[in-house]
Symmetry: C2
Subunit: 259 residues, 2 copies
């Protein structure tokens, strides 16, 4: 079907969304995208499952830890969201979204403190991948997708501070250093935390077209980055292949206005 | 004390933060600011209370409703956060933050469906105001501050889509039409939803200085708007006094970099 038919198809069907959460998740990874998605859900049919290993409260809490250079960091303040489903009882999903799989200041190294060798996130992604229409990651959620094998042969990106810790995973993944987000076949990936909002705007436009999505963006006063190649944080965090030839800044404004 | 002394004073004390939530709250109003605040809490001493009328799960759910022009809207998908404290057992607070007091598509008119004549938010703000160091609102949370009387004689702003519905409240409030956020004495207010993140960046720099705050911003890859007068949404939403003479767009990038 063509683009317009695809928009109508999505506007008329129900899209079942699953958002994975786990202890130490980054709140903006989840609730930035969900702000836009829940806004659009007032226009089009969606359902949402918040999925964790077990249903119930899941906290953003990060304990005392060292960052990757050994600097000691305090435990953080935190909030808890309620997981509505466990991986065992989650419904059929059209869109599965996987947020950061590490800790804001702790880097990937601290992930083991939370997850140990537990691969329930990767197992769930791998088991559900074929039955989903699309899978999206925010920040280092891409590491979970890579470990699950669903990035093999695909283009992907991730948080640029955690770049070197994420890109060893997966087989034949084309990790794109200059990307606010990527879209390759069923796979959407974003760069760090806040980039998930820009990916979500692009994803929602791709699904539903501009009209209602733009109304939502301007109601919540978010000026998105719309160039998927804008990525100053690859320069800030010294990612190999970072594009130093362009300005680090981006001209953003309300969507639908030229000047 | 001077600016540097003020930063040291805040870096060395514990800051008790209270975030109010209630049914139908906008998730990005809460979790955008909290992403930055919780990041900084790994550096400096903070505590966080999520406060509602009663402790327990509070949902972002918005039921079937009409927007202000009468257009019918669907119920939304939703997530629930756990309120850790009720208004009756919340601890002493240095910083109290009040998010949107209306509904994303429903406008202020729908607020009554949720709140009726219940003024527990305003009562709490009024009762705690003198004992706090600062009070901040995100989006139409400014309406709650105005109703509580704490904006009287102050400069403030709010969501520009909801502008005409908010500014009747309060006495002798200077409502600033071209403002991403305002800071007047103890009062910080932001424009719509996403603007809360930019206000929070400004507030955190003001409290703690640039260094650790900028590390956090670049780790989560958020490029903040740093001009409090940048406000294209006042033009988009036809706010009286909107500045039509300037570009609607803003040049943003990673903090701490000039080019």
């Amino acid at each position: 079907m063509d683009e317009e038919e695809f928009h109508l198809y999505n506007q008329e069907r129900e899209i079942s969304i699953g958002y994975m959460v786990f202890d130490g998740f980054a709140p903006l990874d989840v609730f930035g995208p969900l702000q836009f998605i829940s806004g659009i859900s007032a226009d089009f049919n969606m359902s949402l499952s918040i999925i964790s290993k077990k249903a119930g409260p899941i906290s953003t809490y990060v304990p005392l830890h060292n960052i990757d250079d050994g600097m000691p960091m305090k435990e953080t303040i935190s909030a808890s969201v309620i997981a509505t489903h466990s991986v065992n009882d989650a419904p059929s999903l059209n869109l599965l979204i996987v947020p950061v799989s590490d800790i804001r200041y702790g880097g990937i190294g601290n992930r083991a403190r939370f997850m140990g060798n537990d691969t329930w996130i990767e197992n769930f992604v791998a088991s559900r991948f074929n039955a989903t229409d699309f899978v999206a990651s925010v920040c280092t959620g891409a590491m979970s997708l890579a470990k699950a094998g669903v990035l093999d042969g695909k283009r992907a990106t991730t948080n640029k501070l955690a770049w070197s810790q994420v890109i060893p995973f997966g087989n034949n993944v084309t990790w794109v250093p200059n990307a606010r987000w990527t879209h390759d076949d069923k796979i959407w990936t974003s760069s760090g935390v806040a980039a998930g909002m820009d990916m979500t705007y692009a994803l929602l436009r791709w699904l539903y077209g501009d009209e209602r999505v733009n109304v939502t963006m301007n109601a919540v006063e978010y000026a998105p980055h719309v160039d998927p190649h804008w990525d100053p944080f690859s320069v800030v965090h010294n990612v190999p292949g970072a594009d130093h030839a362009h300005s680090l800044k981006d001209l953003v404004g309300p969507v639908g206005y030229d000047n």
